[in-house]
Amino acid sequence: MKKGYFGDFGGRFVPELLMPPLMELEEAMKDILPSETFRKELDDLLKNYAGRETPLTFCPGLSEKLGFELWLKREDLLHTGAHKINNTLGQALLAKHMGKTSLIAETGAGQHGVATAAAAARLGMKCTVYMGAEDAERQSANVRRMRLLGADVVAVESGSRTLKDAINAALRAWISLQKTTHYCFGTAAGPYPFPDLVREFQSVIGREARAQMLERTGSLPDYVVAAVGGGSNAIGMFSAFVPDASVKIIGVEAGGTGEPGCMHSAAINLGRPGVLHGEYTMLLQDDDGQILPSGSISAGLDYPGVGPEHAHLAAAGRVKYAVAYDHEALDAFQTLCRVEGILPALESSHALAYVLAHAGDFEPGSRVLVNLSGRGDKDMDIVEKALGL
Protein backbone atom coordinates (compact mmCIF):
# COMPACT_ATOMS: atom_id res chain seq x y z
CA MET A 1 0.00 0.00 0.00
CA LYS A 2 1.22 3.50 -0.80
CA LYS A 3 2.65 5.31 2.21
CA GLY A 4 0.09 7.30 4.13
CA TYR A 5 -2.84 5.54 2.47
CA PHE A 6 -5.64 3.29 3.71
CA GLY A 7 -6.53 1.42 0.53
CA ASP A 8 -7.29 4.19 -1.97
CA PHE A 9 -7.80 6.87 0.69
CA GLY A 10 -5.51 9.25 2.57
CA GLY A 11 -2.27 10.78 1.32
CA ARG A 12 -1.05 14.30 1.90
CA PHE A 13 -2.34 16.87 -0.52
CA VAL A 14 -0.76 19.96 0.99
CA PRO A 15 1.35 22.87 -0.21
CA GLU A 16 5.05 21.97 -0.44
CA LEU A 17 5.64 24.43 2.42
CA LEU A 18 3.74 22.08 4.75
CA MET A 19 5.67 18.95 3.75
CA PRO A 20 8.66 19.61 6.07
CA PRO A 21 6.54 19.90 9.27
CA LEU A 22 4.52 16.83 8.30
CA MET A 23 7.71 14.85 7.71
CA GLU A 24 9.12 16.17 10.98
CA LEU A 25 5.97 14.96 12.74
CA GLU A 26 6.23 11.57 11.08
CA GLU A 27 9.80 11.21 12.34
CA ALA A 28 8.83 12.34 15.83
CA MET A 29 6.10 9.70 15.92
CA LYS A 30 8.68 7.04 15.17
CA ASP A 31 11.28 8.31 17.62
CA ILE A 32 9.28 9.69 20.52
CA LEU A 33 6.00 7.76 20.79
CA PRO A 34 7.54 4.35 21.57
CA SER A 35 9.95 5.74 24.18
CA GLU A 36 9.52 4.72 27.81
CA THR A 37 9.62 8.34 29.03
CA PHE A 38 6.88 9.45 26.68
CA ARG A 39 4.62 6.47 27.46
CA LYS A 40 4.99 7.04 31.19
CA GLU A 41 4.27 10.75 31.01
CA LEU A 42 1.23 10.22 28.79
CA ASP A 43 -0.13 7.39 30.95
CA ASP A 44 0.20 9.60 34.00
CA LEU A 45 -1.64 12.48 32.29
CA LEU A 46 -4.41 10.21 31.04
CA LYS A 47 -4.88 8.54 34.42
CA ASN A 48 -4.32 11.29 36.94
CA TYR A 49 -5.29 14.39 34.95
CA ALA A 50 -7.91 13.25 32.43
CA GLY A 51 -9.53 10.48 34.45
CA ARG A 52 -8.76 7.23 32.62
CA GLU A 53 -9.70 4.49 32.59
CA THR A 54 -13.29 5.42 31.87
CA PRO A 55 -16.05 3.09 33.07
CA LEU A 56 -17.98 0.62 30.98
CA THR A 57 -21.61 1.05 31.97
CA PHE A 58 -24.30 -1.58 31.51
CA CYS A 59 -27.75 -0.06 30.83
CA PRO A 60 -30.29 -2.30 32.60
CA GLY A 61 -33.41 -0.30 31.78
CA LEU A 62 -32.74 0.11 28.07
CA SER A 63 -31.46 -3.45 27.71
CA GLU A 64 -34.72 -4.79 29.07
CA LYS A 65 -36.74 -2.66 26.66
CA LEU A 66 -34.57 -3.52 23.67
CA GLY A 67 -34.17 -7.24 24.24
CA PHE A 68 -30.38 -7.09 23.93
CA GLU A 69 -27.60 -5.89 26.21
CA LEU A 70 -26.62 -2.25 25.81
CA TRP A 71 -23.19 -1.25 27.12
CA LEU A 72 -21.73 2.25 27.06
CA LYS A 73 -18.06 3.25 27.00
CA ARG A 74 -18.12 6.38 29.15
CA GLU A 75 -15.80 8.88 27.43
CA ASP A 76 -18.26 11.54 28.61
CA LEU A 77 -16.71 11.22 32.07
CA LEU A 78 -13.30 12.46 30.93
CA HIS A 79 -11.88 15.87 31.84
CA THR A 80 -13.32 18.56 29.51
CA GLY A 81 -16.27 16.26 28.81
CA ALA A 82 -15.34 14.20 25.78
CA HIS A 83 -12.81 11.86 24.18
CA LYS A 84 -11.02 14.84 22.60
CA ILE A 85 -8.64 15.14 25.57
CA ASN A 86 -7.06 11.72 24.78
CA ASN A 87 -5.75 13.19 21.55
CA THR A 88 -4.82 16.68 22.72
CA LEU A 89 -2.78 15.43 25.70
CA GLY A 90 -0.96 13.03 23.39
CA GLN A 91 -0.25 15.62 20.73
CA ALA A 92 0.67 18.37 23.18
CA LEU A 93 3.11 16.07 24.97
CA LEU A 94 4.58 14.94 21.65
CA ALA A 95 4.94 18.56 20.54
CA LYS A 96 6.69 19.42 23.77
CA HIS A 97 9.14 16.54 23.27
CA MET A 98 9.72 17.87 19.74
CA GLY A 99 10.76 21.21 21.22
CA LYS A 100 7.68 23.12 20.10
CA THR A 101 6.46 25.89 22.38
CA SER A 102 3.03 26.58 20.90
CA LEU A 103 -0.03 24.76 19.71
CA ILE A 104 -2.59 25.77 17.13
CA ALA A 105 -5.88 23.97 16.63
CA GLU A 106 -9.13 24.18 14.72
CA THR A 107 -12.43 23.67 16.42
CA GLY A 108 -16.05 23.33 15.32
CA ALA A 109 -18.29 23.17 18.35
CA GLY A 110 -15.37 24.05 20.58
CA GLN A 111 -14.77 20.70 22.29
CA HIS A 112 -11.43 20.07 20.59
CA GLY A 113 -10.50 23.71 21.17
CA VAL A 114 -11.24 23.42 24.88
CA ALA A 115 -9.34 20.13 25.12
CA THR A 116 -6.34 21.66 23.30
CA ALA A 117 -6.43 24.77 25.49
CA ALA A 118 -6.49 22.59 28.62
CA ALA A 119 -3.59 20.43 27.43
CA ALA A 120 -1.59 23.53 26.50
CA ALA A 121 -2.21 25.11 29.89
CA ARG A 122 -1.27 21.93 31.71
CA LEU A 123 1.99 21.56 29.72
CA GLY A 124 2.93 25.23 29.75
CA MET A 125 2.47 25.87 26.04
CA LYS A 126 0.91 28.76 24.15
CA CYS A 127 -2.33 28.00 22.35
CA THR A 128 -4.28 29.59 19.50
CA VAL A 129 -7.59 28.13 18.40
CA TYR A 130 -9.17 28.89 15.02
CA MET A 131 -12.95 28.75 15.05
CA GLY A 132 -15.43 29.63 12.32
CA ALA A 133 -17.06 32.97 13.16
CA GLU A 134 -20.51 31.42 12.95
CA ASP A 135 -19.50 28.59 15.31
CA ALA A 136 -17.94 31.10 17.70
CA GLU A 137 -21.28 32.92 17.87
CA ARG A 138 -23.42 29.83 18.45
CA GLN A 139 -20.95 28.14 20.86
CA SER A 140 -19.94 31.21 22.83
CA ALA A 141 -19.70 29.29 26.12
CA ASN A 142 -16.84 27.23 24.70
CA VAL A 143 -15.15 30.39 23.43
CA ARG A 144 -15.24 31.71 27.00
CA ARG A 145 -13.90 28.42 28.36
CA MET A 146 -10.98 28.47 25.92
CA ARG A 147 -10.16 32.06 26.86
CA LEU A 148 -10.27 31.20 30.57
CA LEU A 149 -7.85 28.39 29.85
CA GLY A 150 -5.46 30.93 28.36
CA ALA A 151 -5.98 30.31 24.66
CA ASP A 152 -6.32 32.95 21.96
CA VAL A 153 -9.46 32.32 19.95
CA VAL A 154 -9.42 33.56 16.35
CA ALA A 155 -12.86 33.86 14.74
CA VAL A 156 -12.48 32.86 11.08
CA GLU A 157 -14.57 35.02 8.77
CA SER A 158 -13.73 33.40 5.46
CA GLY A 159 -15.74 30.87 3.44
CA SER A 160 -18.75 29.36 5.21
CA ARG A 161 -17.38 30.57 8.61
CA THR A 162 -17.54 27.05 10.09
CA LEU A 163 -15.23 24.10 10.90
CA LYS A 164 -13.90 23.54 7.40
CA ASP A 165 -12.84 27.18 7.19
CA ALA A 166 -11.26 26.96 10.64
CA ILE A 167 -9.13 24.06 9.34
CA ASN A 168 -8.15 26.13 6.28
CA ALA A 169 -7.13 29.01 8.55
CA ALA A 170 -5.12 26.74 10.86
CA LEU A 171 -3.31 25.15 7.90
CA ARG A 172 -2.48 28.62 6.56
CA ALA A 173 -1.22 29.73 9.95
CA TRP A 174 0.89 26.60 10.31
CA ILE A 175 2.80 27.51 7.13
CA SER A 176 4.15 30.60 8.88
CA LEU A 177 4.42 29.21 12.42
CA GLN A 178 5.81 25.71 11.83
CA LYS A 179 9.22 26.32 13.44
CA THR A 180 7.83 26.82 16.93
CA THR A 181 4.33 25.44 16.61
CA HIS A 182 2.60 22.10 16.38
CA TYR A 183 -0.78 21.87 14.67
CA CYS A 184 -2.87 19.82 17.10
CA PHE A 185 -5.31 18.36 14.58
CA GLY A 186 -8.62 17.38 16.15
CA THR A 187 -9.85 14.40 14.23
CA ALA A 188 -8.55 11.28 12.49
CA ALA A 189 -8.46 13.08 9.16
CA GLY A 190 -6.22 15.61 7.39
CA PRO A 191 -2.87 14.93 5.73
CA TYR A 192 -0.76 11.94 6.74
CA PRO A 193 0.42 11.36 9.47
CA PHE A 194 -2.54 12.97 11.30
CA PRO A 195 -5.01 10.10 10.69
CA ASP A 196 -2.45 7.67 12.17
CA LEU A 197 -1.46 9.98 15.00
CA VAL A 198 -5.01 10.70 16.13
CA ARG A 199 -6.01 7.03 15.91
CA GLU A 200 -2.94 6.15 17.97
CA PHE A 201 -4.01 8.49 20.77
CA GLN A 202 -7.72 7.57 20.58
CA SER A 203 -7.17 3.82 20.36
CA VAL A 204 -7.06 3.74 24.15
CA ILE A 205 -10.89 3.83 23.99
CA GLY A 206 -11.16 0.55 22.13
CA ARG A 207 -8.34 -1.18 24.02
CA GLU A 208 -9.96 -0.42 27.35
CA ALA A 209 -13.48 -1.25 26.19
CA ARG A 210 -12.40 -4.57 24.67
CA ALA A 211 -10.63 -5.63 27.87
CA GLN A 212 -13.55 -4.43 30.02
CA MET A 213 -16.10 -6.35 27.96
CA LEU A 214 -14.01 -9.52 28.20
CA GLU A 215 -13.60 -9.06 31.94
CA ARG A 216 -17.24 -8.25 32.66
CA THR A 217 -19.02 -10.57 30.22
CA GLY A 218 -16.40 -13.14 29.33
CA SER A 219 -16.82 -12.41 25.64
CA LEU A 220 -16.43 -9.79 22.96
CA PRO A 221 -19.42 -7.60 22.08
CA ASP A 222 -21.47 -8.69 19.07
CA TYR A 223 -21.83 -5.12 17.83
CA VAL A 224 -19.74 -1.97 18.30
CA VAL A 225 -21.35 1.36 17.40
CA ALA A 226 -19.95 4.90 17.28
CA ALA A 227 -20.85 8.25 15.72
CA VAL A 228 -18.72 9.45 12.80
CA GLY A 229 -18.07 13.08 11.90
CA GLY A 230 -14.36 13.36 11.14
CA GLY A 231 -14.26 10.04 12.93
CA SER A 232 -11.81 10.22 15.86
CA ASN A 233 -13.96 8.67 18.61
CA ALA A 234 -15.11 6.00 16.18
CA ILE A 235 -11.65 5.04 14.92
CA GLY A 236 -10.42 4.99 18.52
CA MET A 237 -13.15 2.52 19.39
CA PHE A 238 -13.15 0.51 16.15
CA SER A 239 -9.39 -0.04 15.84
CA ALA A 240 -9.38 -2.58 18.69
CA PHE A 241 -12.24 -4.58 17.16
CA VAL A 242 -11.43 -4.51 13.43
CA PRO A 243 -9.32 -7.70 13.70
CA ASP A 244 -12.14 -9.50 15.59
CA ALA A 245 -14.09 -11.00 12.69
CA SER A 246 -17.05 -11.90 14.91
CA VAL A 247 -17.67 -8.28 15.91
CA LYS A 248 -20.03 -6.31 13.67
CA ILE A 249 -18.99 -2.66 13.55
CA ILE A 250 -21.33 0.22 12.73
CA GLY A 251 -20.39 3.87 12.20
CA VAL A 252 -23.23 6.38 12.33
CA GLU A 253 -23.16 9.53 10.21
CA ALA A 254 -25.36 12.57 10.79
CA GLY A 255 -28.25 12.71 8.34
CA GLY A 256 -29.49 16.20 9.20
CA THR A 257 -33.24 16.82 9.31
CA GLY A 258 -33.95 14.02 6.85
CA GLU A 259 -36.11 16.23 4.64
CA PRO A 260 -35.48 15.80 0.90
CA GLY A 261 -32.42 17.84 -0.11
CA CYS A 262 -31.58 18.79 3.49
CA MET A 263 -28.05 19.60 4.58
CA HIS A 264 -26.36 16.63 6.24
CA SER A 265 -22.93 15.32 7.14
CA ALA A 266 -23.10 11.83 5.65
CA ALA A 267 -19.92 11.94 3.56
CA ILE A 268 -19.56 8.16 3.29
CA ASN A 269 -23.23 7.43 2.57
CA LEU A 270 -23.95 10.36 0.28
CA GLY A 271 -20.58 11.77 -0.82
CA ARG A 272 -18.01 11.04 -3.52
CA PRO A 273 -14.23 10.67 -3.31
CA GLY A 274 -12.15 13.83 -3.61
CA VAL A 275 -9.44 15.94 -2.01
CA LEU A 276 -9.96 18.30 0.93
CA HIS A 277 -7.79 19.31 3.88
CA GLY A 278 -4.83 17.32 2.67
CA GLU A 279 -6.49 13.95 2.14
CA TYR A 280 -8.27 11.94 -0.52
CA THR A 281 -11.50 10.78 1.07
CA MET A 282 -15.29 10.74 0.81
CA LEU A 283 -16.62 14.30 0.53
CA LEU A 284 -19.78 16.32 0.13
CA GLN A 285 -19.13 18.18 -3.11
CA ASP A 286 -20.86 19.41 -6.24
CA ASP A 287 -20.17 18.23 -9.81
CA ASP A 288 -17.39 20.79 -10.18
CA GLY A 289 -15.53 19.59 -7.09
CA GLN A 290 -16.53 22.54 -4.89
CA ILE A 291 -17.05 21.51 -1.27
CA LEU A 292 -20.68 21.70 -0.16
CA PRO A 293 -21.71 22.99 3.26
CA SER A 294 -22.62 20.24 5.70
CA GLY A 295 -25.35 20.33 8.34
CA SER A 296 -26.37 18.56 11.54
CA ILE A 297 -27.97 19.38 14.86
CA SER A 298 -24.72 18.03 16.29
CA ALA A 299 -21.99 20.62 15.75
CA GLY A 300 -19.28 18.00 16.31
CA LEU A 301 -20.49 15.89 13.38
CA ASP A 302 -21.04 18.89 11.09
CA TYR A 303 -18.20 18.35 8.59
CA PRO A 304 -18.28 17.71 4.81
CA GLY A 305 -15.54 15.06 4.88
CA VAL A 306 -14.50 12.03 6.91
CA GLY A 307 -11.24 10.45 8.00
CA PRO A 308 -9.63 8.36 5.23
CA GLU A 309 -9.48 5.17 7.32
CA HIS A 310 -13.27 5.24 7.63
CA ALA A 311 -13.60 5.72 3.86
CA HIS A 312 -11.40 2.64 3.48
CA LEU A 313 -13.22 0.53 6.09
CA ALA A 314 -16.46 1.35 4.27
CA ALA A 315 -15.04 0.47 0.84
CA ALA A 316 -13.56 -2.75 2.23
CA GLY A 317 -16.92 -3.66 3.77
CA ARG A 318 -15.46 -4.18 7.26
CA VAL A 319 -17.54 -1.42 8.85
CA LYS A 320 -21.14 -0.61 7.99
CA TYR A 321 -21.81 3.14 7.87
CA ALA A 322 -25.39 4.11 8.62
CA VAL A 323 -27.23 7.39 9.11
CA ALA A 324 -29.19 8.83 12.04
CA TYR A 325 -31.32 11.96 11.70
CA ASP A 326 -31.58 15.00 13.98
CA HIS A 327 -34.95 13.94 15.43
CA GLU A 328 -33.72 10.41 16.14
CA ALA A 329 -30.71 11.82 17.95
CA LEU A 330 -32.97 14.09 20.02
CA ASP A 331 -35.16 11.09 20.93
CA ALA A 332 -32.11 9.07 21.94
CA PHE A 333 -30.80 12.02 23.95
CA GLN A 334 -34.03 12.17 25.96
CA THR A 335 -34.31 8.41 26.33
CA LEU A 336 -30.83 8.05 27.79
CA CYS A 337 -31.45 10.96 30.16
CA ARG A 338 -34.67 9.49 31.50
CA VAL A 339 -34.01 5.75 31.46
CA GLU A 340 -30.35 5.65 32.49
CA GLY A 341 -29.72 9.08 34.02
CA ILE A 342 -27.00 9.98 31.54
CA LEU A 343 -26.99 13.21 29.54
CA PRO A 344 -25.17 12.37 26.27
CA ALA A 345 -23.61 14.74 23.74
CA LEU A 346 -25.63 15.11 20.54
CA GLU A 347 -22.71 13.46 18.70
CA SER A 348 -22.92 10.33 20.85
CA SER A 349 -26.72 10.53 20.69
CA HIS A 350 -26.44 9.73 16.97
CA ALA A 351 -24.73 6.40 17.73
CA LEU A 352 -27.36 5.60 20.31
CA ALA A 353 -30.13 6.79 18.00
CA TYR A 354 -29.15 4.25 15.37
CA VAL A 355 -29.35 1.44 17.93
CA LEU A 356 -32.73 2.59 19.25
CA ALA A 357 -34.26 3.29 15.84
CA HIS A 358 -33.05 -0.01 14.36
CA ALA A 359 -33.40 -2.19 17.45
CA GLY A 360 -35.06 -4.90 15.37
CA ASP A 361 -31.86 -5.35 13.34
CA PHE A 362 -29.86 -6.46 16.39
CA GLU A 363 -29.92 -10.12 17.40
CA PRO A 364 -32.02 -10.65 20.53
CA GLY A 365 -29.80 -11.40 23.50
CA SER A 366 -26.70 -9.98 21.80
CA ARG A 367 -24.29 -7.49 23.35
CA VAL A 368 -24.12 -4.01 21.84
CA LEU A 369 -21.31 -1.65 22.80
CA VAL A 370 -21.86 2.05 22.08
CA ASN A 371 -19.16 4.68 22.41
CA LEU A 372 -20.60 7.47 24.53
CA SER A 373 -17.96 9.90 23.31
CA GLY A 374 -19.04 13.01 25.21
CA ARG A 375 -21.43 14.56 27.65
CA GLY A 376 -24.35 16.72 26.62
CA ASP A 377 -24.21 19.75 28.91
CA LYS A 378 -22.79 21.76 26.01
CA ASP A 379 -25.87 20.93 23.94
CA MET A 380 -28.51 22.08 26.44
CA ASP A 381 -29.42 25.26 24.54
CA ILE A 382 -29.67 23.48 21.20
CA VAL A 383 -31.74 20.62 22.60
CA GLU A 384 -34.13 22.87 24.52
CA LYS A 385 -34.62 25.03 21.46
CA ALA A 386 -35.24 22.01 19.20
CA LEU A 387 -37.69 20.47 21.64
CA GLY A 388 -39.41 23.78 22.33
CA LEU A 389 -38.72 23.51 26.08
Binding site: V14, P15, M19, S158, R172, Q178, D288, G289, Q290
Partner: protein, 256 residues
Protein backbone atom coordinates in the same frame (compact mmCIF):
# COMPACT_ATOMS: atom_id res chain seq x y z
CA UNK B 1 12.49 23.22 -24.56
CA UNK B 2 8.97 23.55 -23.18
CA UNK B 3 7.11 26.51 -24.65
CA UNK B 4 6.70 28.12 -21.22
CA UNK B 5 10.45 27.94 -20.66
CA UNK B 6 10.95 29.50 -24.07
CA UNK B 7 8.61 32.40 -23.25
CA UNK B 8 10.69 33.19 -20.17
CA UNK B 9 14.05 32.70 -21.92
CA UNK B 10 12.90 35.05 -24.70
CA UNK B 11 12.31 37.78 -22.14
CA UNK B 12 15.78 37.19 -20.69
CA UNK B 13 17.21 37.48 -24.21
CA UNK B 14 15.64 40.94 -24.35
CA UNK B 15 17.38 41.73 -21.07
CA UNK B 16 14.27 41.86 -18.90
CA UNK B 17 12.45 39.91 -16.21
CA UNK B 18 9.58 37.88 -17.63
CA UNK B 19 6.18 38.91 -16.29
CA UNK B 20 3.61 36.42 -15.08
CA UNK B 21 0.34 37.96 -13.91
CA UNK B 22 -2.17 35.81 -12.02
CA UNK B 23 -5.89 36.56 -12.33
CA UNK B 24 -8.70 34.52 -10.85
CA UNK B 25 -11.08 33.41 -13.59
CA UNK B 26 -14.24 35.51 -13.65
CA UNK B 27 -12.52 38.46 -11.96
CA UNK B 28 -13.66 41.18 -11.57
CA UNK B 29 -16.82 39.94 -13.35
CA UNK B 30 -17.38 36.98 -15.66
CA UNK B 31 -18.20 39.50 -18.45
CA UNK B 32 -15.04 41.58 -18.12
CA UNK B 33 -12.59 38.82 -17.20
CA UNK B 34 -11.59 37.94 -20.75
CA UNK B 35 -10.99 41.62 -21.50
CA UNK B 36 -8.59 41.65 -18.55
CA UNK B 37 -6.71 38.66 -19.98
CA UNK B 38 -6.64 40.25 -23.43
CA UNK B 39 -5.31 43.49 -22.00
CA UNK B 40 -2.66 41.74 -19.89
CA UNK B 41 -1.58 39.85 -22.97
CA UNK B 42 -1.43 42.90 -25.19
CA UNK B 43 0.54 44.84 -22.56
CA UNK B 44 3.35 42.30 -22.79
CA UNK B 45 2.77 39.54 -20.26
CA UNK B 46 4.97 36.55 -21.00
CA UNK B 47 2.85 33.95 -19.25
CA UNK B 48 -0.65 34.40 -17.79
CA UNK B 49 -1.81 32.30 -14.88
CA UNK B 50 -5.58 31.85 -14.77
CA UNK B 51 -6.83 30.99 -11.30
CA UNK B 52 -9.42 28.21 -11.14
CA UNK B 53 -11.62 29.04 -8.14
CA UNK B 54 -11.99 26.56 -5.27
CA UNK B 55 -14.12 26.70 -2.15
CA UNK B 56 -11.19 25.91 0.17
CA UNK B 57 -7.98 27.54 -1.09
CA UNK B 58 -5.48 26.74 1.71
CA UNK B 59 -2.43 28.29 0.06
CA UNK B 60 -4.09 31.63 -0.59
CA UNK B 61 -4.26 34.82 1.40
CA UNK B 62 -7.38 36.96 1.79
CA UNK B 63 -7.28 38.77 -1.58
CA UNK B 64 -7.11 35.68 -3.79
CA UNK B 65 -9.52 33.81 -1.53
CA UNK B 66 -12.07 36.61 -1.78
CA UNK B 67 -11.69 36.65 -5.57
CA UNK B 68 -12.25 32.88 -5.56
CA UNK B 69 -15.38 33.14 -3.42
CA UNK B 70 -16.76 35.86 -5.69
CA UNK B 71 -16.01 33.83 -8.80
CA UNK B 72 -17.87 30.83 -7.39
CA UNK B 73 -20.83 33.03 -6.50
CA UNK B 74 -20.79 34.20 -10.11
CA UNK B 75 -20.98 30.62 -11.35
CA UNK B 76 -17.42 30.29 -12.64
CA UNK B 77 -16.44 26.65 -13.26
CA UNK B 78 -13.49 24.81 -14.74
CA UNK B 79 -15.72 23.70 -17.63
CA UNK B 80 -16.64 27.33 -18.27
CA UNK B 81 -12.99 28.41 -18.21
CA UNK B 82 -12.06 25.70 -20.73
CA UNK B 83 -14.95 26.78 -22.99
CA UNK B 84 -13.93 30.44 -22.66
CA UNK B 85 -10.43 29.51 -23.75
CA UNK B 86 -11.78 27.41 -26.61
CA UNK B 87 -13.63 30.47 -27.95
CA UNK B 88 -10.36 32.44 -27.87
CA UNK B 89 -7.94 29.79 -29.01
CA UNK B 90 -4.86 31.35 -30.59
CA UNK B 91 -5.87 34.84 -29.46
CA UNK B 92 -3.09 35.20 -26.89
CA UNK B 93 0.61 35.70 -27.39
CA UNK B 94 1.46 34.82 -23.79
CA UNK B 95 1.85 31.29 -22.46
CA UNK B 96 -1.21 30.09 -20.55
CA UNK B 97 -1.24 28.29 -17.22
CA UNK B 98 -4.17 27.14 -15.10
CA UNK B 99 -3.54 27.51 -11.37
CA UNK B 100 -5.93 25.77 -9.03
CA UNK B 101 -6.46 23.19 -6.32
CA UNK B 102 -6.54 19.46 -6.85
CA UNK B 103 -10.20 18.64 -6.29
CA UNK B 104 -11.80 20.55 -9.19
CA UNK B 105 -9.14 19.10 -11.53
CA UNK B 106 -9.69 15.60 -10.14
CA UNK B 107 -13.47 15.80 -10.53
CA UNK B 108 -13.06 17.04 -14.11
CA UNK B 109 -11.00 13.91 -14.79
CA UNK B 110 -7.23 14.12 -15.20
CA UNK B 111 -7.09 12.55 -18.68
CA UNK B 112 -9.94 14.68 -19.99
CA UNK B 113 -8.44 17.77 -18.37
CA UNK B 114 -5.08 17.21 -20.04
CA UNK B 115 -6.69 16.63 -23.43
CA UNK B 116 -9.09 19.56 -23.23
CA UNK B 117 -6.50 21.94 -21.80
CA UNK B 118 -4.08 21.17 -24.60
CA UNK B 119 -6.84 21.58 -27.19
CA UNK B 120 -7.74 25.06 -25.96
CA UNK B 121 -4.16 26.30 -25.79
CA UNK B 122 -3.16 25.82 -22.14
CA UNK B 123 0.53 25.03 -21.65
CA UNK B 124 0.75 24.02 -18.02
CA UNK B 125 -0.81 23.68 -14.58
CA UNK B 126 0.11 24.83 -11.10
CA UNK B 127 -1.56 22.86 -8.30
CA UNK B 128 -0.62 24.30 -4.89
CA UNK B 129 -1.91 21.32 -2.89
CA UNK B 130 -0.19 18.68 -4.99
CA UNK B 131 3.32 18.07 -3.64
CA UNK B 132 5.81 15.80 -5.42
CA UNK B 133 4.73 12.75 -3.42
CA UNK B 134 1.14 12.83 -4.73
CA UNK B 135 1.74 14.17 -8.24
CA UNK B 136 2.60 11.09 -10.31
CA UNK B 137 -0.87 10.57 -11.84
CA UNK B 138 -1.35 14.24 -12.66
CA UNK B 139 2.14 14.55 -14.15
CA UNK B 140 1.65 11.46 -16.33
CA UNK B 141 -1.70 12.71 -17.61
CA UNK B 142 -0.34 16.17 -18.41
CA UNK B 143 2.93 15.13 -19.99
CA UNK B 144 1.09 12.82 -22.41
CA UNK B 145 -0.34 16.05 -23.84
CA UNK B 146 2.80 18.18 -23.60
CA UNK B 147 1.55 20.12 -20.59
CA UNK B 148 3.89 21.05 -17.75
CA UNK B 149 3.17 20.57 -14.05
CA UNK B 150 5.00 23.54 -12.61
CA UNK B 151 6.65 22.86 -9.24
CA UNK B 152 6.37 25.17 -6.24
CA UNK B 153 9.24 25.34 -3.77
CA UNK B 154 9.78 27.62 -0.80
CA UNK B 155 12.14 28.83 1.92
CA UNK B 156 11.81 25.54 3.82
CA UNK B 157 12.30 23.27 0.78
CA UNK B 158 15.57 21.39 1.16
CA UNK B 159 18.00 20.84 -1.67
CA UNK B 160 17.04 17.14 -1.58
CA UNK B 161 13.37 17.85 -2.13
CA UNK B 162 14.16 20.40 -4.83
CA UNK B 163 16.09 17.66 -6.63
CA UNK B 164 13.01 15.43 -6.62
CA UNK B 165 11.12 18.17 -8.43
CA UNK B 166 14.02 19.07 -10.72
CA UNK B 167 14.24 15.50 -12.02
CA UNK B 168 10.64 15.44 -13.26
CA UNK B 169 9.77 19.07 -14.06
CA UNK B 170 9.87 21.29 -17.08
CA UNK B 171 8.73 24.85 -17.99
CA UNK B 172 9.82 26.82 -14.90
CA UNK B 173 10.13 26.51 -11.15
CA UNK B 174 7.91 28.72 -9.02
CA UNK B 175 9.79 29.90 -5.94
CA UNK B 176 7.55 31.00 -3.08
CA UNK B 177 9.27 33.97 -1.46
CA UNK B 178 7.69 33.80 1.99
CA UNK B 179 6.66 31.26 4.60
CA UNK B 180 3.03 32.08 4.17
CA UNK B 181 0.13 32.36 1.79
CA UNK B 182 -0.32 34.46 -1.33
CA UNK B 183 -0.56 38.21 -0.85
CA UNK B 184 1.59 41.28 -1.25
CA UNK B 185 4.22 42.19 1.36
CA UNK B 186 6.11 45.45 1.80
CA UNK B 187 9.46 43.76 1.31
CA UNK B 188 10.91 40.36 0.58
CA UNK B 189 12.12 38.42 3.63
CA UNK B 190 15.91 38.07 3.99
CA UNK B 191 15.75 34.26 3.61
CA UNK B 192 14.54 34.69 0.04
CA UNK B 193 18.17 34.85 -1.09
CA UNK B 194 18.82 31.39 0.41
CA UNK B 195 15.92 29.75 -1.37
CA UNK B 196 16.78 31.51 -4.64
CA UNK B 197 20.37 30.36 -4.53
CA UNK B 198 19.31 26.81 -3.66
CA UNK B 199 16.86 26.82 -6.57
CA UNK B 200 19.55 28.16 -8.92
CA UNK B 201 21.92 25.37 -7.87
CA UNK B 202 19.37 22.58 -8.26
CA UNK B 203 17.22 23.60 -11.24
CA UNK B 204 18.38 24.23 -14.77
CA UNK B 205 14.92 25.68 -15.47
CA UNK B 206 14.11 29.39 -15.28
CA UNK B 207 13.19 30.62 -11.81
CA UNK B 208 9.94 32.54 -11.25
CA UNK B 209 9.51 34.32 -7.92
CA UNK B 210 6.08 34.88 -6.45
CA UNK B 211 3.92 35.29 -3.31
CA UNK B 212 4.36 38.74 -1.83
CA UNK B 213 5.41 40.74 -4.90
CA UNK B 214 3.83 44.09 -5.64
CA UNK B 215 6.41 46.37 -7.18
CA UNK B 216 9.50 45.98 -9.39
CA UNK B 217 11.65 47.69 -6.76
CA UNK B 218 11.43 44.59 -4.58
CA UNK B 219 13.55 42.65 -7.07
CA UNK B 220 16.16 45.39 -7.26
CA UNK B 221 17.11 44.55 -3.66
CA UNK B 222 18.34 41.13 -4.76
CA UNK B 223 21.96 40.49 -5.79
CA UNK B 224 22.34 40.31 -9.59
CA UNK B 225 23.05 36.59 -9.72
CA UNK B 226 19.93 35.81 -7.72
CA UNK B 227 17.43 37.90 -9.68
CA UNK B 228 14.62 35.62 -10.78
CA UNK B 229 13.99 35.08 -14.49
CA UNK B 230 10.32 35.82 -13.98
CA UNK B 231 8.11 37.63 -11.49
CA UNK B 232 4.62 36.41 -10.57
CA UNK B 233 2.07 38.80 -9.09
CA UNK B 234 -1.50 38.08 -8.13
CA UNK B 235 -2.93 39.82 -5.10
CA UNK B 236 -1.41 43.20 -5.95
CA UNK B 237 -2.81 42.97 -9.49
CA UNK B 238 -6.26 41.93 -8.25
CA UNK B 239 -6.25 44.92 -5.91
CA UNK B 240 -5.14 47.18 -8.78
CA UNK B 241 -8.06 45.91 -10.89
CA UNK B 242 -10.49 46.24 -7.96
CA UNK B 243 -9.48 49.91 -7.68
CA UNK B 244 -10.76 50.34 -11.24
CA UNK B 245 -7.34 50.82 -12.79
CA UNK B 246 -6.37 49.39 -16.16
CA UNK B 247 -4.63 45.99 -15.98
CA UNK B 248 -2.22 47.11 -18.68
CA UNK B 249 -0.91 49.93 -16.44
CA UNK B 250 0.20 47.36 -13.89
CA UNK B 251 2.18 45.45 -16.51
CA UNK B 252 3.64 48.66 -17.92
CA UNK B 253 5.06 49.64 -14.53
CA UNK B 254 6.88 46.30 -14.41
CA UNK B 255 8.09 46.55 -17.99
CA UNK B 256 9.38 50.07 -17.59
Amino acid sequence: MHILEKKIRDAAAEGRTALIPFVTAGYPTPETFWNVVTELDAAGSDVIEIGVPFSDPVADGPVVEAASVKALENGVTLHGIIEGLRDRRGAFRAGLVLMGYMNPFLQYGLEKLARDAQEVGVHGLIVPDLPYDEAADMRAALSAHGLALIPLVGPNTSEERMKLYADVSDAYVYVVSVMGTTGERKSLPPEVTDVLSRARRVFSLPVALGFGLRAPGQLAMLPDDLRPDAAVFGSALLRHIAEGKAPADFIRAWRA
